[in-house]
Assembly symmetry: none
Homo-oligomer: 325 residues x 2
DNA sequence: TTGGTCGAAG
DNA sequence: CTTCGACCAA
């Protein structure tokens, strides 16, 4: 059976908002490692891969692997019945043909119980090669969304060019052409060395409270041993954000602090690729999930757009348009 | 002739928003006791009953009973011409074939005068028996609205079950089933009791200007003689809300304070009834009128959904679906 | 609080 | 396809 407890319904809502337009149905693959969903978008152009790691649930139990075929529209509908701060518990017996969800208000004076019919979905499990990318850009997810929206007003596709100096997004269309150049944030450096995107421990005076309110209490360490030989010590710890990321830190993680998000570029090789803005804009909808997004690119290889948030990772893959340049 | 003065156009706007979708035309029955409107909804399924008591007008005069047949759509249109804080005066001579309305800005620097054509409406006066209900639930009107909206996403109808422990709303549909259980708020008890909410006179420093615009200054006393023998001590200052409904006070009042609204259940007998969510959702639109709503139920008897606000009471009646359970 | 935008319904 | 209502931002 499965029983997974999530502290904040809001995360799930944001996730669904982020992907439901791309994917209508998919299997929630529940294992003892967590819950994953992988699916091609409806027009089989983009690939969505979501991972929620078991350790980041408030509690998690999954006795045996079970793929739960869900309609994401239905799931969205039901999640709308939860308030943002509700605690959400997913429940499914081993032979389930429906997925149970319980929404509990923080004060425990309201309990919503919902049951959603499941469907059988033939899932071609797509192996995703662990590519080494020539360029990795980390930037504010809000800025990414803004750029996609702006350029989408001009043309159908965007050319993304990453060089040492910065990254340029450009688009052409009927009404005109446009491009946005983001310079790498000063102090940010490629390679391990400086990488740690400005981890200035910039503390707001009022940040104290927030620390309290957030869920990640000091005991962030317990599941911390989950880190094997990771070179980067800055797990997206959430509010713990500011600290950490001392050294290594090639790509910045999703820190949830209030600091500005810089632009960092890790570049093995210059890259220039063109993508459909329609899809990128869709990916950008995940911005509320994480303050940072990373774009991973190699020439002639699908782009990887990745959002790291506390509970896991959301990845989008999209093949470049051939008509590059 | 009729001359009735209302302090805040906003109340009237909210009222119209609340019922205009249910009822298109109706008689405003003006008597020396106040103004009442009673009408079946357009599909003759639900009954709407509005009462505005004479004492709660800023001033009220009605020499003889007169039913003013109005089209609520027209009335809504005209009321939109008033700003929320405007003082509204209804005027009609005895033989009126039109209803005059005057909107005066609080600062009295703007006066709008409107006249709306009246219509003749044959009114079957429906006697509403003063039923004793087996269950009376008082809860936050916003929460009621939320629940109706949530469950409406799942199915057409909702089953409401009231028991000592709480009240459960449940619905079934294509995508799945759902239920919301509200527990009775601790400390809430049947019988009178009644939570007195504080009426903090909370003043903002920058409220100076607004004070001009607002009508109710601290000196709440002027028209206070409107209050007869009232047992309830907690008059939610603010708009001077508290008067009205004097005795019995089984159900909490509409206070305008900022406190949380609890759930209280007065139960003679367990009740389980099923209703059309379409109608309940419509009723719930009255939420802006009052922070609390009370649901009155007896088996096989129409549900009464009641909103008490400063100027009066708005009631909705709806027969249960036969297919209960 | 008001105006504008977006989505849903007829 | 048009209109209305609900939601969101200024």
């Amino acid at each position: 059976m499965l029983e997974a407890r999530v502290k904040q319904a809001s995360v799930l809502k944001k996730l669904l908002d982020a992907i439901k337009e791309l994917v209508t149905d998919g299997n929630l693959d529940c294992t003892d490692e967590g819950i994953a969903l992988q699916a091609m978008d409806n027009s089989h152009v983009a690939l969505v891969s979501l991972k929620l790691v078991a350790e980041q649930f408030e509690s998690y139990r999954c006795d045996r692997n079970m793929p739960l075929g869900v309609n994401l529209g239905s799931l969205t509908k039901i999640l709308k019945c939860a308030k943002d701060n509700d605690v959400v518990t997913f429940k499914a017996p081993d032979d389930a043909d429906s997925l149970g969800m319980v929404f509990e208000s923080p004060k425990e004076d309201r309990v919503g119980e919902y049951e959603m019919k499941l469907m059988d979905i033939d899932q071609e499990h797509l192996g995703i090669p662990d590519t080494q990318y020539d360029a990795t850009i980390t930037m504010s997810s809000a800025e990414f969304q803004r750029i996609c929206r702006d350029l989408a007003a001009l043309g159908e596709s965007v050319k993304i060019e990453a060089s040492k100096e910065g990254v340029r997004f450009s688009s052409e269309g009927e009404v005109g052409n446009g491009s946005v150049l983001l310079k790498q944030t000063a102090g940010t450096d490629r390679s391990s060395g400086g990488g740690s995107k400005k981890a200035q421990v910039k503390r707001d005076p009022d940040e104290e409270d927030e620390e309290e309110e957030e869920e990640e209490k000091p005991e962030v360490d317990e599941d911390e041993e989950g880190e094997e030989e990771q070179d980067d010590e800055d797990r997206p710890k959430k509010r713990k954000a500011a600290n950490g990321k001392a050294k290594g830190a090639k790509k910045a993680k999703n820190t949830d602090s209030t600091d500005e998000v810089g632009v960092s570029i890790i570049l093995e090789k210059q890259v220039s690729l063109t993508f459909s803005l329609k899809y990128l804009s869709n990916f950008a909808k995940s911005a509320p999930l994480a303050r940072e997004v990373s774009l991973h690119m190699s020439n002639d290889v699908p782009l990887l757009v990745q959002f790291d948030f506390e509970q896991g990772t959301l990845q989008f893959f999209l093949a470049p348009k051939i008509s590059d340049e």
